[in-house]
Subunit: 305 residues, 2 copies
């Protein structure tokens, strides 16, 4: 019996009994109990060389990242993540099974932390690089999902935490802001939301495009991660530049009405960084209000700027 | 703007308006209307060199296969397929965008044929080989899904069509038996079901392992595909051997009680091939009843026997 089959058996034996999971791995499909909530579903693939370098990142970290980025998409809709499916393409080598197990332990670690059951998957191997494909299902809020398209003129713009410099290591350990968004949606109606994967300014532009409005960011208000300062020493750019353009922060960027914004004062995971305006993307700093070009990580085909 | 972004825009513009799809591609998650039926979910990855050879199969055929094998898993549960997500890892080359579009047209062709909406995905590219990851969601029958574990002593064993020799080309164009199983489940209660991906005898063994029983197959009753005869000329093995052991037929193998079996007489997509017994896997032919070793395609790590 091959290592692949050993791994699949090992994997099946680990699947926890979970409410709502009627049939887990081992049949042709997983079977889930329906609920009355709208269903959220998202998929994200990570590939060796693009999203991680196996020699630099442990297989466990790659597993954590693959689950984390998908859970972050559920967080960006204001949802609750419930179940996941995992597709693996392993590299044929002497350490395949060990890497597969470590990957899976990383996936499971993040899934368990957020009460997500891994209910199925597909495992292959080839001579090529490692691919980890994760699909996550979740439930929307009773009031419906948070879309990118709901920002309104005058809405206040927030982020859940500091940005920039994730390439120094944080990009491998995304913290899906599921608990934070659950807390915030219980306090106020959120009008739009996205997770910062391409970069703060690029992802803000996605909200603005979908909502048909513009925004002014306050340079002084943008929370800058310590990693952005560290990275700026190496690149010669400013820490603010990194906070605005670096990808894979996985903080949430969201809007709420100016009245609701007042209720978020003092919330540590709601940092106000700007306001929605009629059109354009602008940065207000000591020199005045200037146009801001939305830059960010453009995946795969092109190099990051 | 990169070719990848062009492709993603092209892809989004094609997504049809579909009942039950509240938000399609373009936000952080797709949003689906819940139903009262149990939810089916399955994922299957195809990789270049293992599941297809790009120089031999058109990108469109690969797309058809990737969607078809996933829909076949929904058919194996007796379900109705509703939505799909597609993860692509494209090979960076001058023809990337054309291959991506052809792949997608193949995926869409099969999805459209069965009323499935492609609601989201993730597209990447790298220097490595092509990977197509598809996740399909569906709904179970009102009476619940068809599992592998329900076969009972005395049940009759059926296949939906002829088997063997799919490697001659049929493996690239799987016909998910969604309509056939919908027709059959309306006629009789089906006690267990699986799709033939590993090979008739190997997949039968999966049913027997899950159900805790055995089976006798009637050699004369097994429908042998013309391709199996053709392949046998090349391999020197018998056509029956190919029907029993070749993978990727994607016919359904199912059981029903001996009383229900009578009601399936004359149904062209229900060919009785044997009976469930207490234990073991047996083949009855002109020489008597002999043990049958469940053989089939073992994916990826090892060569097919």
């Amino acid at each position: 019996m091959s290592a692949e089959f050993d791994f699949i058996r090992w994997l099946r034996a680990r699947t926890p009994i979970s409410t709502g999971v009627l049939v887990g791995p081992g049949d042709d499909c997983a079977v889930l109990q329906p609920t009355s909530r709208q269903l959220l579903v998202t998929t994200d693939l990570l590939t060796e060389g693009t999203d991680f370098i196996l020699e630099q990142a442990s297989a466990r970290a790659i597993g954590r990242k693959a689950m984390g980025v998908n859970l972050s998409d559920i967080a960006a809709m204001g949802g609750r993540a419930t179940t996941a499916l995992v597709g693996l393409v392993l590299t044929q080598s002497g350490t395949t099974e060990q890497i597969a197990q470590e990957l899976y332990l990383g996936l499971e670690e993040v899934a368990n932390e957020f009460g997500v059951a891994i209910v199925g998957g597909d495992t292959n191997s080839w001579a090529g690089g490692l691919v980890v494909s994760v699909t996550v299902l979740g439930e929307a809020l009773r009031s419906g999902p948070l879309l990118r398209s709901g920002a309104k003129l005058g809405d206040a713009l927030f982020v859940t935490g500091p940005c920039g410099g994730s390439i120094l290591g944080r990009h491998l350990n995304p913290r899906p802001r599921l608990r934070e968004i659950a807390h915030l949606t219980a306090l106020v109606p959120i009008t739009s939301c996205i997770d910062i994967s391409d970069g703060l300014s690029a992802d803000l532009q996605h909200i603005l495009d979908a909502s048909g409005c513009g925004a002014i960011l306050d340079a002084d208000a943008i929370p800058i991660h310590a990693d952005a300062y560290e990275l700026a020493k190496q690149t010669g750019k400013t820490a603010l530049h990194h906070a605005l353009t670096d990808g894979e922060d996985f903080e949430l960027l969201f809007t709420t009405s100016s009245e609701s914004a007042l209720k978020l004062a003092g919330e540590p995971c709601a940092i106000r960084i700007g306001t929605c305006v009629e059109s354009g993307l602008w940065l207000r700093d000591s020199t005045g209000v200037n146009p801001l070009h939305p830059k960010g990580w453009v995946h795969a085909f092109t190099e990051p700027e």
